[in-house]
Point group: C2
Chain length 285, copies 2
């Protein structure tokens, strides 16, 4: 099966209400007066990182991608559980793990380390506490809202290609936790941009049952002459969100378009309707 | 590093109070009026299951081992998050997953599935809700308590060897969730026996700072002529617990010894002091 088929099969099993139909990046677990946000991601050698990648960066990215999911919910991290395949690179992995956990003040809750004789696979489960209700999700955009993005897109792509000033954007991405918490009560929908702006806009528009109209000239990109790539490449981990155009936002973000009533296509870039999801970004096989 | 060294290194990083110093099988997270129990386990092809193992059994065991950790805390399962490496055996894995989730009425909260070009590694994180306070742990045994075990030990070993009537004990272990919940408020210490009775008695005695005196003739084993192996082999997932000798217990269990004041050795089997942990059970390298 590919990932899409597998998730479709999982949806036929008993799901917790908080799983939100497996349509979101996080589960939302209400417990008395608290709401927990749960997310988990796996990374495998050869698929998600090169076998010669610096284990410091692997640890950082494993934690950062999960914290980025919490950021998109406006959640405050509570702790993480680590599933780790032991190798000869453990000391360096631990350095990266220590660095990001200290940077974002996130403690370890538990985990499991195993001996594996194959390529290492690591997983991390991050648990956060919601800071506002309702918790933002992908499907809350409303017609007339403005569409925003934090930061500059394409930096991870340029870092991947070796551009010195963007290396950290690819190797050591910074989850937008502070911005997510500040924005959460102001947004109608929010998600992180892990798979490319266009694809994630498509997903948010589809989940909201509306159409997103983007203005390419407004989109902040790291290389103006490579706009098409910057808005399709993933790994930037900026926040994509919608909010009433009149909202006064407590975090820096750039307006890149507006939410329109449902249309033939869920996405329009300048005047061009985009009616096929293929080629918009990184799609999990 | 081996697993012991890795956990020692993790202990130097910031730990959540609920991680209990990484000395227990679960984290205990207090949230307002609720207490959550968190546990996670990984299984890799070639290490934890044979590459030709039935994927139905792999899924069952992955969930069962985590639910067994919840059982030892007297917790009621809330849901699970699955980290899954896709392969050509996904449909059969999903059948096993469905079977155990339905059997124990546990819903899916979320997860991540990945493409990996190595041997598959799967992880599961189980979340439960504590049903009593304090939550049982390994270190609560008191001198004078009786030591108990549920079920019969050695069945997983015999099933692994091919004995027809014990196959399910190895392939489809049954977490003692109902017994754990019934016992939790009666016990002074509790854990599941995943690595062999003697080793887990050693651990519980050490964590409690006391000595466990076991009577071999009292220990319920599946093969009387192979007692030594039955009490050293793991994978039985029965519950080991201590309770005042006068306690009236709400679940079937066999008294196998008594808790003694601290002694030179943490464990005694009949009259023999066991002062070295080597060879007592399955130790993670």
């Amino acid at each position: 099966m590919n990932e899409t088929d597998f998730i479709a099969a999982l949806r036929k099993l008993p799901l917790h209400d908080g799983a939100r139909g497996l349509d979101d990046d996080c589960a939302v677990l209400e417990l008395g007066s608290e709401t927990l946000i749960l997310t988990t991601d796996s990374m495998a050698a050869g698929t998600h990182f090169r076998s010669d990648a610096d284990p410091f960066d692997i640890a950082w990215k494993l934690v950062a991608t999960n914290l980025s999911d919490l950021a998109a919910k406006g959640a405050e991290p509570v702790g993480v559980l680590l599933n780790y395949s032991l190798s000869d690179k453990d000391a360096r992995f631990l350095e990266g793990l220590a660095a990001i956990l200290q940077e974002y003040d996130v403690p370890i809750l538990g985990g499991d380390s195993i001996t594996s004789n194959g390529k290492p696979t690591h997983s991390l489960t991050a648990i956060g506490r919601a800071t506002c209700a309702p918790v933002p999700h992908r499907g809350g955009a409303e017609a007339g809202d403005a569409i925003y993005v934090t930061g500059t897109l394409g930096r991870a792509m340029l870092g991947f290609e070796g551009a010195a000033e963007h290396l950290d954007a690819f190797n050591l991405p910074r989850p937008r936790l502070a911005q997510g918490r500040a924005l959460a009560s102001h947004v109608s929908a929010m998600m992180d941009i892990s798979d490319g702006l266009l694809l994630d806009c498509w997903r948010m528009a589809s989940a909201s049952g509306l159409a997103f109209a983007l203005e390419s000239g407004s989109i902040p990109v790291a290389a103006d002459d490579r706009l098409d790539e910057c808005i399709r490449w993933g790994d930037d981990y900026e926040l994509l969100f919608t909010a009433p155009a009149s909202a006064s936002l407590p975090a820096d973000a750039t307006m890149i378009g507006t939410v329109q009533p449902a249309d033939a296509a869920p996405l329009r870039l300048d005047r061009e309707e985009i009616s096929c999801v293929d080629g918009l970004g990184y799609q999990h096989k």
